[in-house]
């Protein structure tokens, strides 16, 4: 089983590194976002008393894992259309290995890009102390597995990349926006304030803030954030494994 996981994981990484436009786009997009938002809100918005560039830096890390997960899991639909997935489905690989390989592949790409973005931390005034970086990378890994697992489960049941994009934008962008990645949520409308507690991204972004910025007002405690992120990762992985193990006439497509 682990050979199959390795094969699928490695294939994701090799294909990504070989696709230069995708690589460059994935790397530059979050940097552009961070530069533009930080620059635009520099003098007018100081959430938690910190410079917006510093605040949004952690949000950008979460955004990188999310966007990378979206684009990485699109390959599930492409693999089905191009016939690769059929070849995997008729191999003696347990279907849970397919989920694990694809999710780990996508999560690795998210981690890779997030780590590259981390190199800009000094520009944002974010500490790169080894203990913070290690903790942060651990949280990033969990968050990457969680959002890639969610993307995988959604992609598996979809036929078109356009529909997948639509669904991802409908659900995942609000999840990101309401997670505290872009702005603090504690002063939001009571209804939105309630939504943030059931939004699993809140805990992922919160855990990242704890890792890189220490205690931040309005963010749940680190154990709560960590537990929420672990639960998010486990649940989405189980969801991915569940959808992939179901055989039906649609597999014929």
């Amino acid at each position: 089983m682990m050979r199959a996981v390795r094969a699928l994981w490695q294939r994701e990484v090799v294909r990504f590194l070989r696709d230069r436009p995708r690589l460059v786009g994935s790397l530059l997009q979050p940097i552009v976002f961070w530069v533009l938002f930080s620059g635009a809100l520099h003098g007018s918005f100081k959430p938690g008393g910190m410079d917006y560039g510093q605040y949004f830096f952690v949000g950008t890390l979460a955004m990188i894992t999310l966007f990378t997960a979206i684009f990485a899991t699109i390959t599930v639909i492409e693999d089905r259309k191009e016939g690769f997935l059929q070849g995997v489905l008729v191999s003696p690989v347990p279907r849970s290995a397919i989920a694990l390989g694809k999710i780990l592949g996508g999560a690795t790409l998210g981690m890779l890009l997030a780590m590259l973005f981390l190199l800009m931390a000094p520009l944002a005034g974010v500490s790169l102390a080894p203990e913070r970086v290690l903790l942060g990378l651990g949280v990033l890994a969990l968050l990457a597995v969680a959002v890639t697992g969610l993307g995988f489960a959604l992609a598996w049941v979809m036929d078109s990349t356009a529909a997948y994009h639509g669904i991802m934008m409908l659900f995942l962008m609000p999840m990101l926006l309401l997670s505290g990645a872009f702005f603090p949520m504690e002063t939001a409308h009571p209804l939105l304030s309630w939504v943030r507690f059931v939004n699993p991204m809140t805990y992922g972004v919160g855990a990242l803030r704890h890792a890189f910025q220490g205690e931040v007002a309005g963010v749940p405690s680190f154990p709560v954030c960590l537990l929420g992120t672990v639960a998010f990762a486990v649940l989405t992985f189980l969801l991915g494994s569940f959808v992939v193990t179901r055989r039906s006439v649609r597999d014929a497509a």
Binding site: A7, R11, R15, E82, Q86, S91
Partner: protein, 323 residues
């Protein structure tokens, strides 16, 4: 067909049926494939051959009937069957962004091979498929025939006992098709089950099943099936087919079929009829063709219609496609 398996049987299928929603794709399908055979399924689009292929390749679950493959029950031992079969789909399953060797490498890992064993097996496959000098090329840069050989190579990596091919030679030129079959025939004792809509490919099978609308309409050795039709087939094109059919029947006492506006006469010595026919009705005949029976004629006799191939067969999707 009993559904029981004997020692020389690769596949025994009994009473298979399959539906996509309301559409009956397969009905009462039974057959037996012997070990080492090249066993073909010939049929037009929508005949059910791709559905049958997806059942045998374990892509879709069995709905009704019994199938034993290599002594294993398809309904309950699909995972064990997957370890012993190789599958090549109609649509290419190679990754065009990877090199030939990488495609084989990842396929090998999925099949449970690794390390030196995998490396050595890849080298063997590359040599057998005559792709050793293209091993480092991206698969997307290869010709269709070469890509197909990569696919065949992938499915042969783990030395399967049985290979399933779904219209694998569609779109290939005759040389590429010959190369594909040469690669398969080089594997001693390999059982090959294939679907096709190409007559000249089907005729090469040891045994052949003709499918139409999800049912078996004929089965046997291709030569025997063609012999059943008769020694010769005469086809006559005429603008007044129904009228002339009656006149020919009255004049010569032969059975005349009208198929798509063309008259057909089958028999052992139909050629003796040609001079007399031309003498009496020659000016009403536009074109006349005398030939030995083909699988097309077998299909025509069994179904009353011509074998027409349009677009590649695509399985129907129903509703939102529950998984």
């Amino acid at each position: 067909m009993t559904g029981q398996t004997n020692a020389t049987s690769a596949i025994t299928a009994a009473d298979l049926a399959f539906t996509y929603g309301e559409r009956q794709a397969l009905q009462d399908v039974s057959f037996e494939v012997m070990l080492g055979q090249a066993y073909g399924f010939l049929g037009p689009n929508g005949s059910g051959k791709s559905t049958l292929f997806k059942l045998l390749s374990t892509i879709v679950p069995l709905q009704r009937g019994r199938v034993s493959m290599l002594g294993l029950d398809l309904a309950t031992q699909a995972a064990a069957i997957r370890r012993r079969i190789g599958v090549v789909f109609q649509s290419p399953a190679v990754d065009k962004k990877l090199t030939v060797r990488e495609n084989l490498h990842y396929a090998g890992l999925l099949l449970g091979l690794a390390g030196r064993e995998l490396g050595a097996r890849i080298d063997q496959i590359l040599a057998a498929a005559e792709l050793a000098d293209r091993a480092r090329d991206l698969t997307g840069e290869l010709s269709g025939g070469m890509r197909r050989r990569v696919e065949i190579g992938k499915c042969l990596l783990a030395k399967p006992d049985l290979v399933l091919l779904d219209e694998a030679s569609t779109g290939l030129d005759p040389k590429a098709r010959r190369d594909m079959w040469a690669l398969l025939r080089a594997q001693a004792g390999l059982t090959v089950v294939f679907t096709t809509h190409l007559m000249d490919e089907a005729v090469e099978a040891h045994s052949l099943v003709l499918l139409d609308q999800g049912r078996i309409v004929a089965a046997g050795r291709p030569a025997a099936l063609m012999r059943e039709v008769g020694g010769q087939v005469l086809e006559i094109e005429t603008p007044e087919a129904p009228v002339l059919a009656g006149e020919l029947k009255a004049a010569f006492g032969v059975a005349v079929q009208v198929v798509d506006g063309t008259l057909r006469i089958e028999g052992q010595v139909v050629h003796e009829l040609v001079p007399k026919l031309m003498q009496r009705f020659g000016e009403r005949v536009q074109r006349l063709q005398l030939a030995h029976p083909s699988l097309q004629d077998v299909f025509l006799r069994k179904t009353g219609k011509r074998f027409v191939v349009a677009e590649p067969e695509v399985p129907a999707k129903h509703g939102r496609g529950r998984r």
